[in-house]
């Protein structure tokens, strides 16, 4: 067989592309995550839609929806491999780092899609007023990177357990707490007239540091989780 030098980036991209193909043919994670998100949003909008809440409360409600929707779907990226028994062939053939980057990329895309659907619906279905669009965009991006960075490793850990769903949320929550505090505070500033990117610099620093630390730690630990 002719051997070409396929680098880490191409291998990671191949893992991501394969996961997207499998996902769009099965709609396993996408349906779960969107259904949960839209259902929760509908319940929230019925309860608080006509009330004028503070920016903090809207921000907290928004991220509760995103967090629990994410919990319902992000673990699938590894659970599916274990359940379908494809994880073994992947372990035998694929570069560990490429698997991590591919899966991280997939979870990031899934979260971005969730945010792209839920954010405009949330703003339409509640009385929340968006004052700083660009700040919210940065918060959403950093939130998705941080969430994906932390949960991808946890998904790999829980995929071998028998009580996967509950374990995923339980293990993720304490690790995601600093991120949730950061995104809620940042989103509050995007929903407040006096906020803005400059006023949210401490939140943006926290979220950037969180994402860097989580992805670096996950990269270092993933080999042990995946191969043993």
């Amino acid at each position: 067989m002719p051997k070409n030098s396929i680098g880490l980036t191409a291998k990671s991209w191949a893992v991501l592309r394969k996961d997207i193909q499998v996902e769009f043919r099965s709609r396993y994670a996408l349906n779960a995550i969107l259904l949960f998100g839209v259902t929760t949003l509908t319940v929230v909008s019925f309860s608080v839609g006509q009330k004028n809440l503070s920016g903090e409360l809207y921000a907290a409600l928004f991220w509760i929806i995103i967090f629990f929707s994410a919990m319902s779907g992000l673990a699938h990226v590894f659970v599916r491999e274990e359940d379908a028994k494809t994880a073994t062939v992947l372990r035998l053939t694929a570069d560990t780092t490429a698997v991590y980057w591919g899966k991280l990329g997939f979870n990031f895309l899934l979260l971005s899609l969730l945010e792209a659907v839920i954010t405009p619906l949330f703003l339409m279905m509640t009385d929340a007023i968006l004052h700083h669009f660009f700040l919210l965009l940065i918060i959403l991006f950093l939130g998705a990177v941080g969430l994906a960075g932390a949960t991808t490793l946890i998904a790999a850990i829980i995929s071998k357990a028998s009580v996967k769903g509950a374990l995923f949320a339980v293990l993720s929550f304490p690790i995601l707490l600093p991120l949730l505090i950061g995104v809620i505070n940042g989103t509050t500033k995007a929903l407040t007239a006096t906020g803005g990117v400059t006023q949210a610099s401490s939140e943006l620093q926290l979220l950037t540091s969180y994402a860097v630390v989580m992805i670096t730690a996950s990269l270092l630990l993933f080999e042990f989780v995946w191969e043993e």
Partner: protein, 205 residues
């Protein structure tokens, strides 16, 4: 010259010891049939050699010209086919081959995919979904994936499981070629498959 040295491999599950002090040594051109009744530890031994399981004690050393191979180098040189493995149901045979080819560092064009599927008797069915394959066809595709890297170490667990006569012939050809160019380990409890290898190692469980 590639070699494999298995030194006092022991594996226990709870109080039960499945493998006890298994030791052997193989070099390119060698073939070994691991035989024994159900539950004697054949699959466990192959899984340990493939790096899918950690032994309780002992080790398997893969070497090239007296130099120990690391995990990544072993992954590049080793292939394993077993009944518990599965490929991606939602992908076609060609997509599965292309993906695992990429993971092995090989870009497969359509011509190569046709050639590989022909080799395992699946020509004309490259664009069928893996989930639409029969169990025998799935087994053949697993062989196609296993051969993508021209493995130096080929581990086969129940090599002819689910295969018809034509499939058995395909496996015989693969085994004959492996015995010339690499190291072959076959785990089986079928007496007619003992002849696939020159050496035998009996596990008593």
């Amino acid at each position: 010259m590639y070699t494999l040295e298995v030194l006092s491999l022991t594996k226990g599950f709870g109080p039960r010891q499945v493998l006890k002090d298994v030791s052997f040594s193989l070099t390119v051109g060698d073939s070994l049939a691991v035989i024994g009744k159900n539950g004697s530890g054949k699959t466990t031994l192959l899984r340990i050699l493939a790096g899918l399981m950690i032994p309780t004690r002992g080790k398997a050393v893969f070497m090239h010209d007296s130099q120990k191979l690391d995990r990544a180098a072993i992954r590049q040189r080793l292939s394993y086919v077993g009944p518990e493995l599965a490929l991606y149901d939602a992908l076609t045979a060609a997509e599965n081959l292309r993906f695992f080819g990429k993971m092995r560092g090989i870009s497969l064009d359509n011509e190569l995919i046709v050639k590989i599927t022909e080799m395992v008797g699946l020509s004309g069915r490259e664009n069928d979904l893996y989930r639409a394959y029969s169990s025998g066809m799935k087994q053949r595709l697993k062989y196609a994936v296993a051969l993508l890297n021209d493995p130096t170490y080929l581990l086969l667990d129940e090599p002819t499981a689910n295969l018809d006569e034509e499939g058995r012939q395909v496996v015989s050809q693969i085994i004959a070629r492996q015995k010339e160019n690499g190291i072959l380990i076959v785990a089986t409890n079928e007496q007619e498959e003992y002849g696939f290898a020159e050496k035998q190692y009996r596990l008593d469980g």
